[in-house]
Symmetry: C2
Subunit: 263 residues, 2 copies
């Protein structure tokens, strides 16, 4: 769904920089620990993980060779040497049970048809007592002013397309029960609300770069799939941009959730 | 809409206790200052205001003599002597211009047909340089798991009834533009997300007492007004209760907004 164009890669890297403090706050891994980053994509979170825990070692996997190539290229300029990239499928992990001290998953489960199966597979390669950290958004949390039905419509189109592709753009709210169903313990859910308005420098620019650009990216499939027509779509996009102007406001909530494997 | 039954009064007092830290965090008034609390209702916020700023003096007004009687009775047991209650209409304030050092408004604008007019009237009695603090919820921020259409339906019924009564249950997101339109400066919006799950002791009980009880309170008018039928309604209420059980979760966002009168 995401990450397969230059503009998209830029967006995802931007997203990681802008949201870094929300996603990574509280996530620091001890020296000598081995951490699996499952679904690293173009490496947007990888550099922040590696920078924040310079003495931990990260194994960052993705199913896409193309994304991994971009991730490797990006990391080569970072001066970090604590990351190993490897092509792998979360549903069929090439690791022995109890291999990793910790697992980190960000903006990945939203694209997976069976996130519970993925969590169980990740739990299997996590050592007893190790933690899993999962971060996902939830498009149902988007709250903005001015509110219009066209703006909600274009967001709903992305939700529908992601669902058709086997994903779930409303997965944030489900992380607690998914981790519980996968058998994790001591589950802590931490919703992180991002708020943008003209009073907060750079925040409206971030909404444009990260959220609105993501919605705009599905214009063609939404029209081709009969979910919308160009006129309504373009109005919805204009309405979303309007929320970033003068007296507009935009809120979005990510869900960061941590669980522990028994033992 | 709220506050006109014993059960409702209990709910509103509970709400203020439970949400106190979210609503009142950062709100402390200096010794000797005079603060107008506009729309004090049964005094749910009044005791927290008075306790948190014991050397400020509060003038707490409400349009309802019945609510004020309850507020007075409740405060008589608190041992606080820095509050004066007075019956008054926000749209027709019995105060001279520039009377108050600060104004505090909580869960009041949501019930007022013309909140902009109310804010202008409040600005008139505020001294130049004084602040206004407005706190309102936004039912569009309710995000929960499991999510069902029946649960959204009962919330939507309350939104519709409140709209029919001239209010706006989705006003939280509008506070920034309303304060700007009323001519306030240095507007700071602070969204405060409340999150409930079984992992947070007492949080699910608070959702039941505060939010679900409020929705349940409009069952009869919602049915009488043709917005719902008993079967769908009762399913929606059951679904809301389900979000407070085991792996359920519930989020809600309040908007605390502060502005300053020029001068």
């Amino acid at each position: 769904m995401h990450g397969h164009s230059d503009r998209e890669s830029t967006r995802l890297l931007d997203q990681a920089s802008g949201l870094g403090s929300h996603v990574h706050e509280g996530t620091r891994y001890p020296a000598g620990s081995t951490v699996l980053e499952a679904g690293c994509g173009v490496g947007a979170q990888t550099r922040l993980l590696a920078r924040n825990s310079p003495q931990a070692h990260f194994v960052s996997i993705d199913i896409s060779a193309e994304s991994l190539a971009q991730a490797r290229e990006q990391m080569s300029g970072e001066g970090l040497n604590n990351v190993t990239f490897r092509q792998a499928d979360i549903g069929n992990l090439p690791f022995s049970p109890d291999t990793f001290d910790h697992v980190f998953v960000c903006f990945t489960l939203e694209h997976i048809p069976d996130p519970l199966h993925a969590l169980c597979a990740l739990k299997n390669v996590l050592r007893p007592g190790g933690t899993i950290t999962v971060v996902e958004g939830d498009h149902g949390s988007a709250l903005f002013y001015p509110e219009t039905s066209a703006a909600h419509h274009v967001i709903d189109c992305l939700v529908s397309l992601q669902q058709q592709a086997g994903g779930n753009a409303l997965i944030g709210r489900e992380l607690g029960h998914l981790l519980a169903d996968a058998g994790f313990m001591d589950i802590a859910i931490s919703p992180r609300l991002i708020h943008a308005s003209s009073a907060i420098p750079g925040s409206s620019e971030a909404v444009k770069r990260i959220f609105i650009t993501m919605i705009e990216g599905v214009r063609e499939p939404a029209i081709a799939g009969g979910l919308t027509d160009p006129k309504v779509w373009d109005q919805g996009i204009r309405d979303l941009y309007r929320t970033t102007e003068k007296d507009g406001m935009f809120c979005y909530t990510f869900f960061k959730t941590v669980g522990r494997k028994e033992g």
